[in-house]
C-alpha cells in the first residue's frame, strides 16, 4: 500500500491518494472537479523518486544558541528546479537554517540532505552540489579577484581557465588586478556571485543576496538568479523584504522565531494574507480629521489620519478614485506615497491566524 500526495494541475489543491504499487487511480479534484488519473510508483523506486525530486530536504531541524532556540523543529523541502524563498524578519532563523544546511554550524537535531546526500554522512558530496553566497561575503584583502577566483577554482577542482570569463560575466574584468581590499560592497558581492558560479552546482543557496545593495545591484542580482534558474539550477534564497521575492520565487516559506509559519506560492500567500499597500497622502490643513467620503468608498479597508497625513488602505485599482474624491471635496493634496506592505505586516497577520504565537 502506497500513499501519495499530489497537487491538482489546475487549482493546486492537494489530493491524497493511496493504492497498490503501479496501480492506476482515477481522481476527481474536490475543489475544481478536474478529472484525471495517476499511476502510483512501484514499491522499490518510491523512495528513490522521493529523494530525487528534492534538491534540499530539511527535516526536524533544531538549533540552540545557549538558551535561545534559533531554529525550532523546522522542516521544508525545496523541489528540483524551483526558486524557493526563505522569508522572515531579522532574527527569524533564516541564516541559522542556511548555515545548518551547509554544515557551517552543528544542529542539535534534525536531518538535512542536499541533492540526496546527507550532510552528516556524506558532507563532501553534499557540498559539492551547492554553491553558497553568504550574507556577509568577504574574501582575502591582499589578493586580486583573479587570484581569488583561481583559488576557488582549485578548491572546486575545476579548470582555472573559467576564472576570467566568469569575472567578465559579472562585470569585474576591469578590476582584475586590484586588491579585493579596495572593492566596494557591491563589487565584493559580485565577486561572491562569480565564485558561486564556478562549480556549476545544481543547487544555489543565497543568503540575503540583495541585502544592503542599491537598486542597480539588486536588479543585477535578480537577473542573475533568474538566469541561473533558467539554466536548470535550484535556488534557495533568504530575504526579509517581501517585494524582493515577489515575481522571483516559485514558492516561499515564512519563518518566525525559528518556526515555519507558512509555505506557499507568493500569489497564494498574498491572497491568504490579504495585505494591501497603503496610500500615504499629505494634505494641507487636514489636522487629524478623517474625511467621511473616503470611508464610504467601495474597496477602502481602513482610513487613519495623523496630523496632516492621511493613511488609506485600499484595493490598488481604486487609488485614483481616492485621490479624485479628495480633490472634489476640496482637500489640498501636497504629496502622495504608496507604502508597500512589509513582511512585518504579514507576520502580524500570520501570528493572528495562528491564534497567538506565544
Amino acid at each position: 500500500m502506497i500513499t501519495k500526495t499530489i497537487r491538482c494541475p489546475s487549482c493546486k489543491t492537494e489530493i491524497t491518494i493511496s493504492g497498490n504499487p503501479n496501480e492506476k487511480i482515477d481522481i476527481t479534484c474536490s475543489n475544481c472537479n478536474l478529472k484525471g488519473f495517476f499511476r502510483l510508483p512501484s514499491a522499490q523506486t518510491d523512495d528513490r523518486i522521493n529523494t530525487n525530486s528534492f534538491a534540499i530536504e530539511v527535516k526536524g531541524l533544531s538549533k540552540m544558541f545557549k538558551d535561545l532556540k534559533a531554529v525550532d523543529n523546522l522542516s521544508f523541502n525545496v523541489r528540483k528546479g524551483e526558486i524557493y524563498g526563505l522569508l522572515g524578519p531579522n532574527g527569524a532563523g533564516k541564516t541559522t537554517t542556511i548555515k545548518a544546511i551547509l554544515s557551517l554550524i552543528h544542529s542539535n537535531s534534525g536531518q538535512i540532505k542536499i541533492n540526496g546526500f546527507d550532510i552528516k554522512t556524506n558532507g563532501i558530496e553534499a557540498r559539492r552540489s551547492v554553491g553558497f553566497l553568504p550574507e556577509r561575503v568577504a574574501f582575502y584583502n591582499n589578493l586580486t579577484p583573479l587570484q581569488t577566483m583561481n583559488f576557488f577554482c582549485e578548491l572546486w577542482g575545476v579548470d582555472k581557465s573559467i576564472a576570467k570569463p566568469t569575472l567578465t560575466e559579472v562585470g569585474l574584468i576591469d578590476a582584475i588586478n586590484r586588491k579585493v581590499g579596495t572593492f566596494s560592497k557591491g563589487m565584493v558581492q559580485l565577486l561572491g556571485v562569480a565564485q558561486v558560479m564556478i562549480g556549476k552546482p545544481p543547487v544555489y543557496i543565497l543568503d540575503e543576496p540583495m541585502g544592503g545593495l542599491d537598486a542597480r545591484w539588486v536588479k543585477t542580482i535578480r537577473e542573475k538568479i533568474k538566469w541561473l534558474n533558467e539554466q536548470g539550477a535550484t535556488i534557495l534564497f533568504s530575504s526579509h523584504i517581501l517585494s524582493e521575492v515577489e515575481n522571483l520565487c516559485d514558492r516561499v516559506a515564512i519563518i518566525n522565531k525559528g518556526r515555519l509559519i507558512a509555505e506557499d506560492t507568493v500569489a497564494n500567500l498574498n491572497k491568504y494574507l490579504k495585505i494591501k499597500p497603503r496610500l500615504s497622502i499629505l494634505i494641507k490643513g487636514l489636522d487629524g480629521k478623517v474625511p467621511d467620503k473616503i470611508k464610504e468608498l467601495d474597496g477602502v479597508e481602513l482610513v487613519e489620519a495623523n496630523k496632516d497625513i492621511l493613511f488609506v488602505t485600499c484595493e490598488p485599482n481604486i487609488r485614483s478614485k481616492v485621490i479624485i474624491t479628495l480633490e472634489k471635496e476640496g482637500y489640498k493634496i501636497v504629496d502622495i506615497k504608496t507604502i508597500e506592505p512589509s513582511l512585518e505586516d504579514a507576520f502580524i497577520k500570520l501570528i493572528e491566524f495562528e491564534g497567538g504565537d506565544n
Binding site: 548555515k99 551547509l102 554544515s103 557551517l104 554550524i105 552543528h106 558532507g123 563532501i124 558530496e125 557540498r127 559539492r128 551547492v130 554553491g131 553558497f132 553568504p134 550574507e135 556577509r136 561575503v137 568577504a138 574574501f139 582575502y140 591582499n142 589578493l143 587570484q147 583559488f151 576557488f152 582549485e154 578548491l155 572546486w156 577542482g157 586588491k179 561572491g192 565564485q195 562549480g199 543557496i205
Partner: protein, 288 residues
C-alpha cells in the same frame, strides 16, 4: 568515508602564503628581522672579536632577537586566521566548498608555516653569510641546527596561535590571547623566579649561576627558554655562559642531563602537536 585530500591542503596553503606575502605587517617584521640579524651577526662576529668572535657567540646574540621576533611573526600570522576569517565571513565561503575542516587547518598551518620558513631562511641566510665573511667560522652543523630549531619554534607558536584562533569567537579576543601567548615566556620566567626565591634560594644565585636543577629543567614549560637551551645543545655546549655584569666575570650555568637534545626535541614536539590537535577539535566543533 572521510579521507584527507592533499590537493585541498596544498590549495589552502598556497592561498595563505600568497595572502600573507602581501601582508604589510609580515613584510615589515621580516625586514626588521633581516636587518637586526645582519647587524647583530656583524657586530658580534667582526666588531667585537675580543668578547665574542665566533659563530656560537654570534648565534647567542642572534638568538636574543630571533626568539623574540619569530614568536611575534608566528602569532601575527596565526592569531586571527580562524577567528578573523569567521568574523569577516571569508571562512563561510571556503567551508561551504567540498572541503574538510582538517584540510583547511593543515593547509593554513603549512601556508603560514612557509611564510615563517621564508622569513627565517632570509634572515639567517644573510646572517650566516655575514658571519662567514667576518669570522670565517666553522660550526655550520650547529648553525643549521639553529635554523632548524628556529623554524620549529615558529611552528610551535603558530600551532599555539591557531589554537587560540580556533577557540576565540572574535578577532579582538584572539588578539588578547596572542598577547598573553607572546609574553608567556616572560610571565612564566617571573613566576618561576618567585618560586625559586620562595624555595629559599638566595637572590644572587641568579648571578652566580648556582641554580637547582629543577629550576633549569622547568625551561620545558616555556617554549622560548626551551628553544634557547636546545640551540646551546645543538652547538654541543653543556653550559650556558654569560657575563652577568657587575664585575662578577663570566658566569656559567651547567645544563642538566635531563635537558639533552633528544628530550628537548620531544618537548618541542609536544608543544607543537598538543595545541594543533586541540585546535582541530575546537575548529571541528565550532559554529562558524
Amino acid at each position: 568515508m572521510s579521507f584527507i585530500n592533499p590537493k585541498t591542503i596544498f590549495t589552502i596553503s598556497k592561498k595563505e602564503l600568497l595572502d600573507n606575502i602581501r601582508n604589510r605587517w609580515i613584510i615589515l617584521l621580516t625586514v626588521i628581522f633581516i636587518i637586526l640579524i645582519i647587524t647583530f651577526s656583524y657586530v658580534a662576529g667582526g666588531g667585537r672579536e675580543d668578547l665574542f668572535g665566533d659563530m656560537e657567540a654570534s648565534v647567542t646574540t642572534m638568538m636574543a632577537i630571533s626568539s623574540l621576533l619569530i614568536p611575534l611573526i608566528a602569532i601575527i600570522l596565526g592569531f586571527s586566521t580562524i577567528s578573523g576569517e569567521a568574523e569577516s565571513g571569508a571562512l563561510y565561503v571556503v567551508l561551504s566548498y567540498p572541503v574538510r575542516r582538517i584540510e583547511v587547518l593543515l593547509g593554513k598551518l603549512l601556508g603560514l608555516g612557509s611564510v615563517i620558513i621564508i622569513s627565517i631562511l632570509l634572515g639567517f641566510g644573510f646572517g650566516g653569510i655575514v658571519i662567514a665573511l667576518t669570522t670565517g667560522s666553522s660550526s655550520w652543523t650547529g648553525y643549521i641546527g639553529f635554523i632548524f630549531l628556529s623554524i620549529f619554534l615558529g611552528f610551535i607558536y603558530l600551532s599555539l596561535a591557531m589554537c587560540i584562533s580556533s577557540y576565540c569567537k572574535r578577532r579582538i579576543t584572539s588578539i588578547g590571547g596572542g598577547i598573553v601567548l607572546f609574553f608567556w615566556s616572560l610571565i612564566y620566567g617571573t613566576v618561576m623566579m618567585a618560586v625559586l626565591f620562595a624555595s629559599g634560594q638566595p637572590i644572587n644565585s641568579i648571578l652566580t649561576g648556582d641554580l637547582p636543577e629543577w629550576f633549569i629543567n622547568s625551561a620545558v614549560f616555556s617554549p622560548s627558554d626551551m628553544h634557547q637551551t636546545a640551540v646551546y645543545r645543538a652547538f654541543g655546549q653543556s653550559a650556558v655562559t654569560f657575563d652577568a655584569g657587575g664585575g662578577g666575570g663570566i658566569t656559567s650555568i651547567p645544563i642538566p642531563e635531563f635537558l639533552n637534545l633528544g628530550n628537548l626535541l620531544i618537548a618541542h614536539f609536544i608543544w607543537f602537536i598538543i595545541p594543533l590537535v586541540l585546535a582541530y577539535f575546537l575548529f571541528k566543533r565550532r559554529d562558524i
